[in-house]
Every structure is written in C-alpha cells, then in structure tokens.
Subunit: 380 residues, 2 copies
C-alpha cells in the first residue's frame, strides 16, 4: 500500500496537528494541479456535520470543480451550530488563499467526536507544513490521517481508479461509510453524480457495522482527466466494493467480515431488506462472535424483515454447509459450518427464501465485547 500513489494530477499528505490527544495523524490533504471535476454524495441523516451544507454550496458554486480536499479526524464539527459552519467556511477560505484557489473550489471535511468546537487555529497553524508535504506519493499518509477508531487504512487501486475510505463505527447505509474517496486520472462521465449514486448503491450502501448512520458521511469522486479515458461504473465499482468490504472487515471490535447472501427474493429491494436485517441483527452477529452456526437466528432475522416467504421452503447456509433445508435442520452439517466460522476471517451467512429469483449481498462484521468497550469509553 505504501508504494501506491495518487493518480496523475493529484498530490496529498497527512500529519498530526494536535486534534487527537494521542498525537496520531489527524489532518489530511489532497491537492489538485488545477480545479478538476468532482461529484459527491452526503449522509441522509437529518443531523448534518457542518461541512455538509458548506460542501454542497461550494460544489454548486464551482460547478463541481474542486482544487483541494482537506480532511480532519478526531472532531466531527457536528452539532456545533452556526459557529461550526463559520469555522468550516473560514478553514476553506484560508486554504484557498494559500493555494490561490477560489474558496468554493475547496472542500473541508471533518470526522470524529460530535459536539466539540473545531480547533480551527490548530488546523490553520498546520496548513503550511501540510502543503509543503503534499506529493503524489502521499497516499499512505493521507489514508492514515483520516482514520478515527479504524485499526488500519483502507486503500485500493485498480485500473484507472484509486480509492481511499475510512469507516469503523456509526456505519450504515445511507451512506454506509464515514468517508470514501475515489480518485482517477481519467475523465469523469457526463453525469458523474448519477454514476456515483449507482456505484454507491452496489458498494457502500451494502455495508453496515452497527446500523447507526453518521451525520458526516461523505463520498467523493474526483477526476483529473489527465488520461484520455472515461472512467465509469465498470472502473469504479470494483474499487468501491472492495473499500466497502474493508470498512465492514475493520468495523469497531470486529473479528470477522460477514457476507450475508440472500437468494430467492421477490425483487432486489426485498433481497436487500432481508440481507440488511440479518446483517444488523445483534443475535446473528454475536453468534458469529461465538463461532456458533446458529441458523435459527439467521432464519428468525429474515422472518422479521417484512418480506413474505415460507420458512418451510427456505434454505439456510453458513459457509459451505447447508444447515436448514425445507423445514428440516441439517444437524450433520453443523460441524462443517463451525469449522468455517473458526477458520475463515471472511464468513458467509446465506438464506434462500424460495420466493422469487432476486438476490442481494450485504457486508457486515461480528459484534464483540470490544465493540461495546470501544463505544462505552469513546469520549472518556
């Protein structure tokens, strides 16, 4: 990962500016050679981090052209009222002045604790060093400095696209990620926003850690056009899906990446609804924590998703083992399912509703005592 660079036209960096008391990196920057086209999606939460209305405004004013992306971690600048919005604007203006850009060409994002005032002075004081450090090889530093309780950076490059994400807690559609960034040296398609929406639907929308949608979730697609190739869903989907899975894998306290597969649904929306219900069921998730192939909890979660099916015709599997088939528990298969849960870091829970031909996949992680401890002690 440390050998990866930003695509042509972009440079970046990350450092510690003192927001996190741990001294961990907490300020990250991506700088473009010129104002390049971008598209962005934001959380659907009614509570919005201060950066969200300002970013929307900037993108509208600039016609979607972005020159710089500044990200701080450790402080969400959320529920900070008009002061928080003014702080965000000030930060964008300061950075814009330093790089000779228009303020609306700068996006300044925040993630971290809700309700604490953003330490603007600390961030501004660190801007010269951050700008000085920005370079094409700065991808690893950038990806590190945007993290909160994530245990590791999430970077994936494939073809013309480089993606970076952070996740960990408060992860649920819509959007399923705190932050996702997709960079490319190619050209964005004409309707980049629609393309990004479609990419998101098959990637970050399929990830849940704890069912809690964050007020700061932001997904950005940004293309320099330095390479004469149009970058569309075929290029973006694999990177976005990989990052979405990484977010689930690195969910707070997680020991297993869980892929929930739902087959035989009346339509895709129903399939996804059942898959999400299984993926957010604390009982399903704690069963995986205990390496218990508890197909009854999977079937029971499916049964409360609001989708009509006949459990007597359903099939439930864990990894390679079918545990429930047409109303009959397959006790002999439990050993193989248990082995799957013990040995694999990526586990599969599946149910065929036998009520149609649509299917869906959702990614999540197990629910461990560590999740509780992390979140019981987050602010202390």
């Amino acid at each position: 990962m440390s050998t990866l660079s930003f695509p042509q036209g972009f440079a970046g960096a990350g450092l510690s500016c003192g927001i996190k008391s741990s001294g961990a990196p907490d300020l990250a920057l991506v700088l473009a050679d010129a104002a390049f086209p971008a598209a962005a999606l934001f959380t659907t939460n009614q509570l919005l981090g201060a950066h969200i209305p300002v970013c929307r405004e900037h993108l509208a004013a600039s016609g979607g052209l972005v020159r710089a992306l500044l990200v701080n971690s450790g402080n969400a600048n959320c529920s900070t009222g008009q002061k928080g919005i003014a702080d965000n604007r000030a930060l964008a203006a300061t950075l814009a002045a330093r790089i000779g850009a228009r303020t609306e060409e700068v996006l300044a994002l925040s993630t971290g604790v809700i309700g604490a005032p953003l330490p603007v002075a600390k961030i501004e004081a660190a801007l010269p060093a951050l700008l000085d450090a920005a370079r094409p090889e700065g991808l690893a530093d950038f990806s590190q400095a945007i993290l909160t309780t994530d245990t590791r950076p999430k970077v994936h490059a494939e073809g013309a696209v480089v993606g970076v994400a952070k996740g960990s807690g408060m992860i649920h559609p819509d959007l399923a990620t705190m932050f996702g960034f997709l960079f490319t040296a190619g050209r964005l398609p004409e309707d980049a926003h629609a393309c990004l929406t479609a990419v998101n639907a098959q990637s970050f929308q399929c990830t849940t850690v704890d069912g809690d949608t964050s007020p700061n979730d932001t997904l950005v697609l940004w293309g320099s056009g330095r390479q004469d190739e149009e970058v569309g869903r075929v290029h973006l989907d694999p990177v976005a899906r990989r990052l979405a899975r990484e977010i689930a894998r690195d969910g707070e306290g997680a020991s297993r990446l869980i892929t929930v597969q739902v087959h035989g649904a009346p339509d895709e929306a129903a399939a996804r609804r059942v898959a999400r219900t299984i993926a957010t069921s604390p009982l399903t998730k704690t069963a995986v924590t205990g390496r218990d192939p508890n197909w009854g909890r999977i079937l029971s979660a499916a049964g409360r998703a609001g989708v009509t099916f006949d459990p007597e015709r359903a099939r439930v599997w864990v990894g390679p083992a079918t545990l429930y088939l047409e109303g009959v528990p397959q006790l002999a298969a439990e050993g193989a399912a248990h082995e799957h849960l013990v040995n694999e870091e990526e586990v599969i829970l599946g149910v065929d509703l036998a009520a149609g031909s649509a299917q869906a996949e959702v990614w999540t992680c197990d629910l461990t005592a560590d999740y509780v401890l992390i979140n019981a002690n987050y602010r202390t």
Copy 2:
C-alpha cells in the same frame, strides 16, 4: 411476589422436567376451573414457533375458551417442521385427556433454543407431578419456570389483574415480549382481542432489547369471570406497561433501564419511530453502558429515523439535564447528566424535535459486553 396468587378460578405450578441441562425449572402450567374466555396475540415474524399455528387453530375451534396453558422453556420448538407441530398437538392432547378437557381448550407454548426437537417424552412424564402441584399460590413457581436468560421473574398485580412476563433477548416489537400473560377474575370485554391489541400497543410494543423479534412471542389475556367486573384497558394497561418495563430492565446483560422520551413530533407514529431508533441504536446504548451523556449520538440516531426535523431547533436531555438546546451544546450540564447515568438504575434519554406536538416513550436497556458474551455462548 411470592405472596401473590393467581386470580380466582386459576391455579398454577412450575417444575423442572429436564429440558434445561442446568436443572432449572422449565415447565409451567396454569389450570382453569373451567374453560374461560381468552384472547391472544402472536409474533409477526414470518418464522413461527410450532405452537403458534396450533394455538391459533385451538382458539378458533374453542371460540376462545381456554382450560389450560402449558409452557416449556429451554426449547422453542421452532424450525422443527411438521414434526414440531405434531409434537405440540400431541402435548396438548395428552394434557387435555388428563384434565378431561377438549384438546382445543389447551394452549401449549414453547420458548428457548430454535431448531432442536422438543423432548415431548420428558414433558409428558412430568405432567402428573405438575398437575398435582397446581394451586392458586403457584404463581411464583409458574413465573420462574417460563424464564430463559431472564435473571428474575416478572410478576405484577394491580387491581383485578395479575400479569406475568418473560423477556430477555430477541425482544423487539412486534411483539416486544417473548411471553406475556394477563390473568383476571373479572369478565373480559366483548371484543377482548381488540382490547388486548390496544393494551399491547401501549406496553409491550414500546419495549425493545436488541431489535430482534422472536418467532415465538405470545401475549395471552385470560379471564375467569368469577368476579362481576368487566376488565378493560384501564385495568390492563398499568399491569402490561409495568411488565413491559420489567422486560427492558432485565434485558440480556442490562445494567440500566432506559426510557427514551420523544416530544415535539409531527404525529405519534413519527414520535415512536424516532424513539425506537434511539432505543435500538448500539451507540446510544453503549454510551449509557459507559455512563457517557453522549447527546450527539442521541441526536444523530434521531436524525436517521426518517422523520423530518431541524436539529438546530431540537433539544436533547439526559435525566434532569438539558445537554443541547437550539443548536448549542450545554457543556455545563454534562456533569449532572453523568451523575444521573451513574446513580440511577432507570435513566432517561429525551429529545424534543420541535416539529409538532406528539410524543412517545420507548423502554430499552443498555448494551453491555455481557450481552455479547451471553449471546456468543448461548448454545455452547
């Protein structure tokens, strides 16, 4: 509690028949002097415990007259196919024959592990002793023998009504309880089913432990009519609400009963939706576990409930302390909120959406590492 008795016309008992390997009581009975009118509500889960279709059938065939209620814990007789249904029928028939009742006048309920065959022989072998033990003072034994991971029985008597419930895990509307029983020596109202539905809406429907609706949930109202008093919502509501709160208080691993109050909603359904979203938010629940008055998580959970409101006008409180008011965090109040979480076993989390005049209350409990441990190891 041990001094409480069943209402006139009923007798009951509880004992261990060997379903639970721990040797804890696992078989319970309520016997009526004659076939008395009853109403029942069952889970809305697509997956149904074997007792549910049979109980529905019996109530329809008997015109709602019930002579005996048999309950086993430790085994849910769910996902056991046609064999499970046949087992339930056989058990009801055996008990009916012993007491000289018609089979359809017997309801046999099960709660516990999903997917294991019901040990019918063990239960049948224990019936003589159970019948022999049945007496009006058997309420405590009955309430004990229906428990699974509950830490204590839940019994509440008020006026003409005696209520018993069990809860613990897989608790969420609809229905919010594994089992609830409301006994009275009074007469049931003409439309007992509608009355019970209304009672349920303001009690067990307001309780959630982990968002997982069980396939076996059952609520029964049963009146002997030995006292010339019609028993309606005014009598039933307080008992049902008390039991619903007890279920939340004794949720798996719980250290706090949480009352979520939502005010200022556009209508009651919206108020309830926001309250349930807060009450099922793992981040809200773990904050209480950590005694952290994290109003940001409360507001953020409210924000994703699908109800439109302006967070800048909202108010958030924890116990007696207002922590967020019209866009401004009230930092000075955090100490009082922390004290509330530390000192009170019943804590209050509230939000006023400032978007109308409707309100709702939902009861839940905190999410602790014990919840994870209990459910990771449930079948092992």
